[in-house]
């Protein structure tokens, strides 16, 4: 029942939103879809494989920059630019993946963080993409088009995650997450599955970055290589439920709604209260909100202690 009703209901809600919303609410909805897709991107590597990337913003930035440069400097049209952005991020992931994916736990987190920061600094030194000034691009599309582009990226991210979780690939990811040595002893080529998930994660984040660049019409290193994006992806996924299909979607929705509400009502201290909300959720529902909603995880004082042991990111 839920298996069919949920995707269909969610799909209708997403597609119908522009019919009832425009202006600020529609842009807010686009933002929510963007964070859902970003959370799903992190989920592919961090949630499914248990490799806590803190550098997924690198892919987002690559997507944004490649699209901006191709559209503004080389006068490409939008869709080829989106495809090229995804390929560029995939190529970058394929080059650094086999190196950083040899590490795990904190070491992997730090390596990815460093890679993303370094990439942002390198971009500043490239005059062709505007150096520290960035690129201004104009694509003649409206808010509704951007919204549907973002929805398409989200749909792709959901489809990728669904296909992985459903097949034997999903087993391989769960095995890698739980015990990579044991996975190898079962005949799982962990390097292959990890690198593939990492590449798919890169594609999704890059597409989000591309659409974001078109939407905001301006990219510069501090805005699209902002490490806060990486952290937000982690937080949204952990809140919603890492390693699940709908967890990142639910997490992104909840946090964004709470964030908006707090921002509107408690302008000066909204991040403080948002932080408290996130800490409470993560402590009491260590596996996330989605497993709780589907009854896979109870809510009790015991989860406080379970959480301290489980979250070894």
């Amino acid at each position: 029942m839920l298996r069919v009703a949920l995707p269909v209901g969610f799909g209708i809600a997403v597609l119908a939103t522009p019919l009832v919303a425009s202006g600020y609410p529609l842009r807010e909805a686009t933002t929510i879809l963007m964070y859902m897709a970003l959370a799903l991107s992190w989920n592919l590597i961090g949630g499914l494989c248990g490799y806590p990337s803190v550098g997924n913003v690198a892919f987002f930035g690559i997507g944004a920059y490649v699209t901006a440069a191709l559209v503004a400097h080389l006068h490409w049209t939008l869709l080829p630019a989106l495809g090229a952005s995804a390929l560029a991020a995939l190529a970058f992931a394929a080059v650094i993946g086999p190196i950083v994916l040899r590490l795990n736990g904190h070491y992997f987190a730090i390596a990815t963080l460093g890679t993303a920061q370094a990439l942002g600094q390198i971009v500043i030194m490239v005059p062709w993409v505007g150096g520290p000034n960035g690129i201004i691009l104009r694509v003649p599309i409206g808010d509704t088009d951007v919204y549907y582009l973002m929805a398409a990226v989200l749909g792709l991210a959901l489809l990728i995650t669904h296909v992985i979780l459903r097949g034997s690939w999903g087993y391989a990811c769960r095995m890698i997450r739980q015990d990579e040595h044991a996975a190898a002893a079962c005949g799982v080529n962990a390097t292959y599955y990890k690198t593939a998930c990492w590449g798919l994660s890169a594609i999704v984040a890059a597409l989000v970055g591309s659409v974001y660049a078109v939407w905001i019409t301006f990219v510069n290193p501090p805005s699209v290589f902002d490490p806060l994006y990486s952290l937000t992806m982690v937080v949204l996924t952990l809140v919603g439920g890492a390693g699940t299909l709908w967890g990142p979607v639910v997490g992104a929705f909840l946090v964004e709604i709470v964030d908006q509400y707090l921002w509107a009502n408690l302008l000066t201290a909204h991040t403080l209260f948002l932080g408290v909300v996130i800490v409470v959720i993560v402590l009491f529902l260590p596996r996330g909100v989605w497993p709780y909603l589907t009854g896979q995880q109870g809510l009790s004082w015991r989860s406080l202690f379970e959480g301290t042991r489980r979250l070894r990111v």
């Binding site: 034997s168 087993y171 769960r174 044991a182 190898a184 002893a185 079962c186 080529n189």
Partner: protein, 267 residues
């Protein structure tokens, strides 16, 4: 008898430490080979070398006629060498059935349906059918060890490496585990068994090799090996060995293998 697994001058050093030195040995087809030695002798390192977790610094390892040296662990599994771990490594968040299913799925390289059938078959064989739908993290250690064995069997290996599969089991569980290993052997698998418990080694192995300081010290039938003065010296120290050879107070007694240094681990 043909050879299932052959090691030729296999060595492994970690920095300045030579954990395994020029070990050559053969596992014959359909054989149970016991691998014993004091703590730190290099037994588990040797297992890790065969399974591909470590790459040998020197030497060659052959499975039948094919060389496995230097291949990644998953590829060695595909060639037909399965293992269990000394410290149990099961997928605790999966059910017992899933743990075994993934062995067949990735190690045996079958499709989902065949893997599910194979899993049920192996669970029946090891006597875990009743626990198939339990979460593996919630069942006892003896059962988890069985899950680990079942997972390895689901791969349909020709060679199985058991690293202390019996340690930590109570006498009843151990009897059952011994019977299970014999049944595995009867099904046509060649085994290398590392065990500290002499009772297990004596009762199970066709042939025993003894490692000490990373080298092969002795090889032979279980009964001969425990009488070997070098082996006694390795386990009990030179002093005891010399005393025994010189008509000491215990000279008239047959050596009692099950009082080995790690005999106190036996329940």
């Amino acid at each position: 008898m043909s050879t299932a697994l052959r090691l030729e001058g296999v060595s492994k050093s970690f920095g300045g430490l030579q954990a395994v030195r020029a070990v050559s040995l053969e596992l014959k087809a359909q054989e149970i080979l016991g691998l014993i030695g004091p703590n730190g002798a290099g037994k588990t390192t040797l297992m890790n070398l065969i399974a591909g977790a470590y790459r040998p610094t020197a030497g060659h390892i052959f499975l039948g006629a094919r060389e496995v040296t230097g291949r990644p662990p998953f590829a060695i599994v595909h060639m037909g060498i399965a293992r269990t771990f000394q410290i149990v490594r099961v997928f605790k968040e999966m059910t017992v059935r899933e743990n075994v299913l993934v062995g067949a799925l990735f190690g045996g390289r079958t499709d989902r349906r065949a893997a599910a059938e194979r899993a049920d078959e192996v669970l029946e064989f090891v006597g875990l059918s009743g626990l198939a739908d339990r979460t593996t993290g919630e069942i006892g250690l003896a059962e988890q060890k069985r899950v680990q064995l079942a997972r390895a069997l689901a791969i349909r290996p020709s060679v199985l490496l058991l690293d202390e599969a019996m340690a930590g089991l109570n006498p009843g569980e151990m009897e059952a585990a011994l019977e299970l290993v014999r049944a595995v052997h009867r099904s046509g698998v060649s085994l290398i068994v590392i065990e500290h418990l002499m009772k297990v080694i004596m009762g199970l192995s066709h042939r025993v090799v003894v490692m000490h300081h990373g080298q092969l010290l002795a090889e032979g039938s279980p009964a001969d090996v425990v009488r070997d003065p070098q082996v006694v010296a390795a386990y009990f120290g030179e002093h005891y060995s010399r005393r025994r050879q010189r008509s000491g107070p215990w000279a008239h007694r047959a050596p009692r293998a099950d009082t080995g240094r790690d005999g106190d681990r036996a329940p």
